[in-house]
Subunit: 382 residues, 2 copies
């Protein structure tokens, strides 16, 4: 809007109601050229709401590994979560499993995140100091209003989100991005552009890329950078931090499609659509960890393309990629801590039950919010 | 301001004048808690004004090499310039030297740049389609007002700058950053933090870093990325674009201090100030070209730390670093186009005279602006 208003463009605002006075100015009136009154409210989809009832025990296990093997290991305080059930599980394990590990105050304090309902229990348990948001989420209005200590709100009490600023925070301020994908190849490149299903990348390319212009240091950033540079010479010997970029996927996705592939569909799509280069969501050289139900592959510690490939095969389970592993090399990577299994992290898989979730239903989330969270109808099944 | 206003902070505005109505709203009044009337105007320094009279013939030569060896070579349309005389020389050669090479319309059309007076001749000659600015520049007010086709101005006619948005454009939208530094080491790391003189980095770390979250393609970005990946395997075989990051320095800076050093002073400063890591302005792995009066070193094409070191020595002139070159390796790099001399670019050094500058004095700039540019007093020597 600003770019349009200040580069001789025409700004048209569609509104549902004319009022004498707005409760707060977000966009100054003199930036707007025309106002159109519309009888129908804008449709807003609840994009970031995940029903805890849909979270599987495999996802609980993966969330436990993420918390113990990555969040705790690096002391990740500032982060962004993707929108899937995998990261919703992590949000719901903070006040339970992570609390039992003594991690409160040590991880997950500052977030670049939309107002995820799944974060309510962690906020109420005092885990979260700040959430800056790209946009809002349906049903979270009253809850956000009640927690101006955590969310960015105006003097009128409602949320002030800012997509561009939150992307900047996600890129530069965050120590970690963790999200999911549909396909990962043997070099660690991943894409949600698959044959027959072109899903958008959202903010993943921006947040899931090392912010090489960053100059402020935090323990998580320094540790990731030091691991990547350990034992290296020449241009890579200069100490520098690095962002943690974690891809969290089950080895098989829906319809038993393997998440690990020899060649990304992105190559074929690029050809069909005459793109200059394949539409990769997150490049392998920016990914630091791949986490599956079989374990964590720490790519920061890999020192050759061969090691990287075997580390990826080593967590790819029963997919053809996983079955193609060199067992001896994978065991060596495990001995060196490049591959971590649940048992290496001291996690007993039998503990990975849904009972660890701080909320197991939408109703639990409403209860945790003190009745302030008002889920959209489709999520109300009680 | 927005972060303060919307996170329960207190916003205090210092103003010089109360008026009944402002010509335009840049900051809504309800974001401001207190207004303090101050009798003295805020001091604004003309930080981006470079007197063309101070540009040397060496700088003209370097600017010619930049234009022919980099701008033209990659077809750089979207870019940011540093604030020194080196890049001011380039701005002043666009409507003369670059025009004579037939480059109008092929380079330098879109800029993330403060309103540099040195860009006036190029704007007036029709080279520039758009300039988005971080901030303003003293004396440029009336000129900017007269060119809303180029600058971002409001309905009232005056400049709308936006530091954060311009940094985002500088990071993501620009194909090239070109600037200067005080010290470069053998790996290509550079810093303006030198013993006894800690200059700020400005936006260089942000703009002089590969924007790894970028996904839109331009010819310049694709060519730089292809050069960096030429003949590589594994994770680096995936096609990807790359930002051009050019360091433009004379081999000796003021007081005959060599710009090329074995070890950056940043290491000592980090120790003294107990910093976690040395304060590097631009990291060697983000730099693509180093340009001196001796030539251009294209680091994108280097395939080992040894090649990189010799490429840097090969343009370091008579500094100890330059004298330490392996002549045979440097000649080999030159044969492979990794090092380019003026003569390799078809530039006759005798042509590098100040007469090529589109403006040779401040008065010339005023004249080029049709009298609209009003330089601060200290720059008025006629």
């Amino acid at each position: 809007m600003e770019a349009t208003a200040f580069k001789s463009g025409i700004v048209i605002a569609q509104v549902n109601e004319w009022v004498d006075q707005v409760p707060r100015v977000d966009i100054p009136g003199d930036w707007v050229d025309f106002v159109v009154l519309s009888p129908k409210p804008n449709v807003i989809e609840p994009l970031f709401t995940r029903d805890p009832a849909q979270i599987s025990e495999i996802q609980v296990l993966m969330a436990m590994m993420a918390i113990k093997g990555i969040y705790s290991e690096y002391g990740v305080q500032r982060l962004n979560h993707g929108i899937g059930f995998d990261t919703a599980a992590i949000e719901l394990l903070l006040p339970t499993y992570a609390e039992s590990l003594g991690l409160k105050g040590k991880i997950g304090s500052h977030w670049a995140l939309n107002p995820h309902p799944a974060l309510i229990p962690a906020i109420e348990a005092g885990w979260v100091r700040s959430v800056h948001s790209f946009g809002s989420e349906l049903g979270m209005e009253n809850y956000v209003r009640a927690r101006p200590d955590v969310f960015f709100t105006g003097p009128d009490g409602s949320l002030r989100s800012n997509r561009a600023m939150c992307q900047a925070a996600g890129h530069y301020a965050c120590d970690m991005f963790i999200g999911s994908t549909l396909q990962i190849d043997l070099q660690g490149h991943s894409s949600t552009a698959t044959a027959g299903r072109i899903a958008g990348f959202g903010g993943a390319p921006n947040m899931g890329a090392d912010a090489r212009g960053r100059r402020h240091a935090t323990p998580a950033w320094l540790k990731a950078g030091a691991q990547a540079r350990q034992g290296r010479s020449g241009v890579h010997a200069m100490p520098r931090g690095q962002k943690l970029v974690v891809q969290m996927v089950e080895t098989f996705r829906e319809h038993m499609q393997p998440a690990f592939v020899e060649t990304l569909d992105a190559w074929k799509l690029a050809e069909q659509a005459k793109m200059d280069i394949p539409p990769v969501m997150i490049y392998g050289d920016d990914v630091t960890h791949i986490l599956t139900e079989e374990g964590i592959a720490n790519l920061l510690l890999c020192r050759s393309d061969e090691e990287r490939e075997q580390a990826i095969r080593g967590v790819a389970g029963y997919t053809p990629i996983g079955l193609g592993r060199d067992r001896r090399v994978v065991e060596n990577l495990r001995d060196r801590g490049i591959i971590l299994r649940a048992e290496d992290l001291g996690i007993d898989k039998r503990d990975a039950t849904r009972s660890l979730l701080a909320a197991r239903t939408m109703r639990d989330l409403v209860r945790a919010s003190g009745g302030l969270y008002d889920p959209p109808k489709r999520f109300r099944n009680w």
